[in-house]
Symmetry: C2
């Protein structure tokens, strides 16, 4: 539990300085200015008072218990300071300073010493190289942080490793008067972690929405588990930066991490129901709506405006975001015709006209809130000088506070001339935006959250007819033979052991054996040269397909024997399956997480159109089916232009069985089923490759 | 010339009221409050002073000339008021009131009467049903408008039919202290038009950037011509709303226009070099950068930051927007190593660290401005309490004012605590944003403008070997016969007349003639039943392909004769071209503009993947080539997986010849070349359909 960190009863500042531009001075000032409810204990060796607060020469001299101790002294002295904190039974230390793992090996050693000292003394570490935490709860008012943003109390809690971006978001909320509940930036994060903080925010009643920024995930398994639980309770709005390779490089340069293409963070966000954003401004604006509005129960929006154009912009955004704008039902139309100005446009969007007054707006809002055809209400409001804007605002707030449905508002006004109108709406919990598109995007986000929260996730199938121990044995034998690349026979045996259908095959040493095998399997067959010395068989003529009789098989084998003079050369004889649609299903290990499974159509669809989708193991039935339907060429699986469709059930089962195989055999590094040939009633693996971790 | 409208020497307000909540009162107040430099003449029948300004009973009583007269009286009285204005030789009338074409037929008749009165008297009309204009030029200060936004003088001029959106943009600039040069919203736009206003802004020296909002274009040809000229002088940033069908409906409902899918506005924006936006907030933020920064000469950006994470976000946006982030060249690396803090990360992005002071930032900016590898500079600046932020700001401004390269800044600060820092940067012409992505998008827009302005547009080929008069004659004959749908022979003759290659064909009346024709053409052939009674021939067995000899031709014709018992039945015998790639090239008339040409690959590419692109006639060589390269499957045209590519020159020539044909024959409504079969060395039309306007 992080209560001691976020709700400290007392805070010490080890390294508190009398110099104003020192962090150790600033933290004392921040705690004082923010009205921290507990005692503050500046610790400095000279014992000089800091900002008028009585200081102590040592933490051991402090008269009461200490929940949190900031330590802002040279890195090499920090482990000893943690030992001292141990004697004082301090619960949490916040290490704001730098000079730890982020600067290299020497710093990393100091960081390790800190962890050792903390573990020994039962102390938790926030940081090092971090900003710290803030809690705006009126009973706490903890500003355990050296930055400068002064948050209003609110309902949004922020967490990010990157202090820069955490601060950026925090500033946006402060500048727009949106408010913050809690704030945490844990820098090097050697102990207190993002998942732990997420879990804490999840349990905090004052937090209605969580904002998260990441450039990658450490311990993704724990993250996944925690995030999945938290999103059921409240929304997590997140942004992952470093999406482009250049962005990943920039992220690596300031975090000391590795620059690599990261597909899994997005998949984790999706799997756990985190609302993902590509634009940090949009994220902040959406968070403001989540702070004061419930999520709608569906995607049907009723739109009210008192000026035309902005509603057009919002309509485009709603439709682009998957919302529906239902036709206004007759019952509501009738009510509105009686209550609106005669020239008003009684549709959805409803244009009440700029001349509409408080009673018109009230009637319009009531009708829309009562209308079963709408799940949410969007309001575009301009404040012409000739109407009673404050009166209108009061009506909106009354309707809003009945909380029948979520409401967002694009408010077109001069915020200085109409300050009171703005105040009424804000205090009444109406999220107001300065652009119709921005307001609409916030409502789209509320609607997306509802869809995520209420969607069916499906179940991970457990197949019993699998040969689990056989897989490990095969991989172990290959490793023992010094190979990470498995032979075709090994791969097919593994697949066979997991019930993944493979086109019938035999291994043959020579032409006669091959011809015999082909006869057993049934013609036509394909012959593949099988030797560790050739990797890309098809490029060098190592595959000959569609052989119709034993003679052709013999001739092919003889020709290959002349061509590939390898001591381990054998011949892979396999049923040739003409027709059918080529599918690629691939898998790749994701460190500390599981495997990424890729699905796509073969040939130009993967090579030219890059039309592939990914999912993380374990893959549920619903997820597997969604993989099939989310490629752009999904309609081809159903059959188009008179062609037959393919068995989606067969493909879904292959993905599920593959997922179970990979979960059981994490040492498999890569596994490509390429192609899988799919027919109307079944699907077979026609070729496969696999490698194991060393 | 619109000087009289935007730079009036005097303004009369016909219908000026003493009642504060009347528009006729508000306009007088707005002119007064904004400090209009000329005389204001309230006109009201009782002659009561308005807001302390002497009023006149009639416009004819006014002692001086009148450039602009607002008319705010009931619609039916407006035509007479315009007549009166004529007697007074008023130059422009602004009709702010409603009750004209936007309310139906009766209003439209009044609007027509206004136009007649104005034409007769040499008066120009702004509106009706419009807000009017604003000019912030210190020598003019004309607030000829009844809204409430108080603009600071600036360099951005705004134009939109929709008063709501014009006002929205105007408010955004006012709220963010960005400033406005001129403002115009012309409502029903019965006379003074958007192109005219664009041209005026284009000639106005004080306007550096134009912001345009449309929901569709009237008189698109004039718009195209004017916009093309203006964008060579200064950027036009535009947004088109009503993109979705629902959005188009919403637009139609408040403009009285027709709801239809609109592809051409985007194409016109692209053709004319207008910078198009999908998000009105992003448009406004970009405009703020254009107002104070030049466009970069290329797409290579140098990034400086004093905190890590935000630079990662910006990097993603830059890369997504087509910018490059070059590796820092050695020369600059050396300079920076000597001038930065020892722990600074000397790369691009350059992290100068939060502890960097004015001298560090100055050295970093100078190095980046001098570095030939960068075309523009992005700065991410947080203002920690321990550095001299104002000193840093002064250095940034000095560097900026040398105007070596465009600079945009993401400023992470508390705008209240660091008000002076913000002021220094703003007055120094440094565009500052509150989000790194927002700042980056503004720089992407600057870079896009440079690319648009400096791109090669190409030339419209003029083919001389075309049979222009023949086309008109064919269409006329069809019309005379009561047909809008042309027969295959007519279509092929038209295509042939324009040098568009068609697979060799003959028309035959019976089986023997067909067999003879097939022999002449050479086998294999395809037979198509030719009768006006069948539209979708292939659906009913009206096409039989790949006939190898005369017997097969005869049998096919006999079978079709039995099947289709139409009096006009004939048989289309055409060379069958096996192999090759199926292409679709289509055309559709765009009212008042020309034709839309569509290009895509046939089959599933168009049906399932919707992989098609559009262009407007006349299509230049560069545009035609860009159509080929901008489909997603463009690589297929080059040849993949061992397949041969197709002749792109042949396809480009077909598009160009088609463009010329359509330009010469605007009465062609639709023309589909489907399929065109393309080979390595040539391309042929294998089937085509066309219809003419009635």
């Amino acid at each position: 539990m992080l209560d001691g960190l976020f709700r400290p009863r007392s805070v010490a500042v080890i390294g508190a300085s009398t110099k104003e531009l020192q962090i150790g001075n600033r933290i004392v000032k921040n705690l004082l200015d923010f009205g921290f409810k507990g005692p503050i204990y500046p610790i400095n060796p000279k014992g000089e008072d800091v900002r008028g607060v009585k200081a102590y020469a040592s933490i051991l001299d402090v008269p009461t218990d200490v929940d949190v101790a900031h330590i802002i002294i040279p890195a090499k002295l920090v482990p000893q300071a943690i030992e001292d904190c141990g004697k004082k039974q301090v619960k949490f230390v916040i290490l704001n300073g730098g000079g730890f793992a982020e600067v290299g090996a020497e710093g990393a050693a100091i960081q390790d010493a800190c962890i050792a000292a903390a573990t020994k003394n039962g102390i938790r570490i926030m940081g090092p190289n971090c900003q710290g935490v803030i809690n705006t709860d009126p009973n706490v008012r903890a500003y355990c942080n050296f930055t400068f943003t002064r948050p209003d109390p609110g309902f949004i809690s922020i967490v990010a490793l990157s202090g820069g971006v955490a601060e950026l978001i925090h500033q946006a909320f402060a500048e727009q008067g949106i408010g913050t509940r809690m704030y945490a930036s844990n820098g090097n994060a050697c102990d207190v972690s993002i998942p732990e903080i997420l879990r804490y925010y999840g349990d905090d009643e004052g937090t209605r929405v969580i904002v998260l920024y990441v450039e990658g995930l450490r311990d993704p398994k724990t993250f996944l588990e925690v995030a999945r639980a938290v999103t059921q309770k409240k929304p997590i709005l997140a942004m992952k930066a470093g999406r482009t390779l250049e962005g990943a490089k920039a992220a690596a340069s300031h975090t000391g991490g590795m620059a690599r293409e990261d597909l899994s963070t997005d998949l984790i966000f999706d799997k756990t129901g985190i609302l993902s954003f590509r634009d940090e401004a949009e994220l902040c604006q959406a968070a403001a709506a989540f702070a004061v509005q419930p999520a709608p129960r569906g995607n049907r929006v009723g739109m009210i405006t008192n000026t035309g154009g902005p509603a057009v912009i919002s309509t485009d955004v709603f439709v682009g975001g998957g919302l529906q704008i239902p036709t206004l039902p007759e019952k509501s139309e009738k009510i509105l015709k009686e209550n609106m100005l005669p020239e008003a446009a009684i549709h959805n969007p409803l244009d009440v006209l700029a001349t509409a007054g408080p009673a018109h707006l009230r009637a319009a809002l009531d009708a829309f809130m009562d209308e079963d055809a709408f799940d949410s209400v969007y309001l575009n409001l301009v404040t012409p000088f000739f109407v009673d804007a404050e009166g209108i605002a009061k009506q909106i707030v009354e309707v809003n506070q009945a909380r029948r449905k979520p409401l967002v508002c694009n408010l077109m006004t001069d915020r200085r001339q109409w300050a009171e109108t703005v105040r009424i709406l804000k205090e009444g919990g109406v999220p107001c935006y300065s652009f119709p598109g921005t307001a609409a995007r916030a409502l789209v986000a509320l609607t997306r959250y509802n869809a995520l929260r209420s969607r069916e996730i499906g179940v991970v199938a457990q197949f019993d007819d699998v040969a689990r121990s056989q897989v490990a044995a095969i991989v172990q034998r290959a490793r023992a033979a010094g190979r990470t690349m498995l032979s075709s026979a090994e791969v097919y045996n593994i697949l066979g052991g997991y019930g993944i259908p493979v086109a019938a095959w035999r291994l043959a040493d020579d032409a006669s054996a091959a011809a015999r095998a082909a006869t057993e399997i049934g013609f036509p067959v394909v012959i593949k040269a099988d030797t560790a010395s050739i990797v890309h068989k098809s490029d060098v003529g190592g595959i000959v397909a569609n052989l119709q009789d034993a003679g052709a098989v013999r001739a092919t084998v003889e020709a290959m024997r002349k061509k590939f003079d390898a001591p381990d050369l054998r011949f892979f004889v396999q049923k040739f399956l003409p027709g059918g649609r080529e599918i690629i299903i691939g898998a790749k290990a994701e460190p500390e997480l599981g495997h990424l499974i890729m699905f796509g159509l073969g040939g130009i669809y993967v090579e030219v159109l890059k039309d592939v989708v990914f999912q993380l193991t374990p893959v549920t039935d619903v997820e597997a089916r969604a993989m099939l339907s989310s490629i752009k060429a999904a309609r081809l699986l159903k059959g188009v232009r008179g062609e037959k469709g393919v068995s989606e059930n067969a493909l879904v089962e292959i993905i599920q069985r593959l997922s179970q195989l990979l979960t059981d055999a994490p040492m498999i590094q890569e596994l490509d089923l390429n192609p899988v040939i799919a027919f109307e009633d079944r699907a077979f693996v026609a070729d496969a490759r696999a490698s194991a971790a060393q």
